[in-house]
Amino acid sequence: MRTNNANGRGGRASVSAQPFQIRGRFITAIAIRLGNEDFDAAFYEALDEQLRQAPQLLLDAPLILDLGMVPGLTETAALRGLVDQLRGRDLQVFGVQNVSDPQAEVAAELGLIPVTIGRDIPAEKAGNGGRRKIDKLLPPDNKLITTPVRSGQVIFAERGDLTVVGSVSSGAELIASGNIHVYGTLRGRAIAGAHGNESARIFCLRQEAELLAIAGVYRTSESIGDTLRGQSLQVFLKDEGLHLEALT
């Protein structure tokens, strides 16, 4: 026993001798997108007004300057003046984004980090479009599940149809870019046409679903109603509405 304990302690000591540990961290930062290159009294007045209205939002939050709309701002002095003014207002500027090469150099002189993650909405849309083009080039990838889908499970068929042979429990989620087929009771959620395919359909042998959705148009069990409960049916979009039709 004793020797065991001593060994244990020795082991622990060597572990705690490690000088540092590396940890991944996500932080939320505020971005200020600059609209023009003149940082005059009117600019700071507007900023002060913003600070008065919502001080919690900006004060002490890590802050990024978005230079995407001011490509002409390449002078060290101008940027330094701006940063000093912002810091004077307790705003914690630490980085820049959407910068050109000369701007990156200037920012580096001031100790600001060029940030490339965290795209704003228009950029994300462009990214998605690019990915969707790639998706179209890839062959469809249909998914077949032959075991019951349990509560809490999410099955995602990213490029194609999803077929489940068995039932789908309440609290489970099926998502497919194409059609969804359930050869069993559908008690969970089914989301077909997840990337916007409006001709996608949902088929099931027995409908007791919590939610049915096609291309973003959805109905919950409450709005599906009881008349079609327990029936075999197909679900499709027609006149921008979700239609449920019994399969006979």
Partner: protein, 282 residues
């Protein structure tokens, strides 16, 4: 009996008693099943995985004999032999209690595996009493299991939680992750079954539950006063005076050991003819 043990190697089968939802009867079932297996002569140990909310030792009536616990063994502060408590009623039954002062973070996958491997060398059945929930304690209780008994009450929230647990058994266990071996053999144990309330439509029927969970049934335990009584005196219901619940657990244990016994629905008391007539008309 002991000479018999030495002749054949121990079975070393790990069975987790789990449910997701709390209060459905996991610990009661773990105590009854382990006592039942021991009664049949199988060398059995029951482990409490509910670190911080230690209950099994009380149900087993050995709470005053706890010196070292599961966590002490995992952390190397005690040997397994020191922590195992031998039951006073059955000489083939052992209890490995857990710590009341620590929390689930004290459990490590390697530590649990080492303890289970050591127990496998000596025991036929290793019963893991899982905590409620699906967090660390519950996941480690099921991770090394060969079989699972999913304790379910005939009501919707319990059934949904059991369904979630069945999903985890099929994906987050050693057997599921290795891919090559057989999946964890999971079966449902329906507890607190009350035929009168089912007839009134207040509870789900057995068929409804099985249709949703889509795994075989291992037993139906009737709602019984005997269960609460047994818990309070610290005796597994199977070892207490004869009761419908005790008999239902004995059938369940027989099915666990591979016997083919027809499922029957026990009742607390046989209502008299008049009572039955009134029950029907109301």
């Amino acid at each position: 009996m002991t000479t018999q043990m030495k002749e054949k190697p121990p079975l070393g089968k790990i069975i987790v008693i789990t449910s997701g939802k709390g209060g459905v009867g996991k610990t009661t079932s773990a105590a009854a099943i382990s006592a039942g297996l021991a009664k049949l002569g199988h060398k059995t140990v029951v482990i409490d995985f509910d670190v911080g909310l230690r209950n099994l030792d009380m149900i087993m009536g050995c709470e005053r004999r706890v010196v070292f616990d599961f966590i002490n063994v995992i952390q190397g502060d005690a040997r397994l032999k020191q922590a195992l408590i031998k039951d006073k009623r059955l000489d083939t039954l052992y209890i490995l209690p857990t710590s009341q002062t620590r929390d689930k973070d004290a459990l490590t996958k390697e530590g649990v595996e080492a303890v289970l491997n050591e127990l496998k060398e000596e025991f036929d059945y290793i019963i893991c009493d899982s905590p409620a929930g699906i967090e660390r304690g519950a996941q480690l209780a099921m991770y090394f299991a060969d079989e699972a008994v999913v304790v379910t009450n005939p009501e919707v929230s319990s059934v949904r939680d059991s369904d979630r647990v069945l999903g985890l058994l099929a994906s987050k266990t050693k057997r599921a992750e290795s891919g090559s071996s057989e999946p964890v053999k999971a079966r449902v144990l329906l507890t607190r079954h009350d035929q009168a309330r089912i007839d009134k439509g207040e509870m789900m029927t057995v068929d409804d539950v099985l249709e949703i969970l889509a795994v075989p049934l291992i037993g139906i335990i009737p709602e019984s006063q005997a269960v609460l009584r047994a818990s309070n005196v610290g005796t597994p219901v199977i070892l207490d005076e004869p009761s419908s619940a005790g008999m239902a657990y004995e059938d369940t244990v027989a099915r666990l050991t591979g016997q083919d016994i027809e499922i029957r629905i026990g009742e607390e008391r046989r209502p008299g003819l008049l009572q039955r007539l009134f029950g029907r008309t109301s």
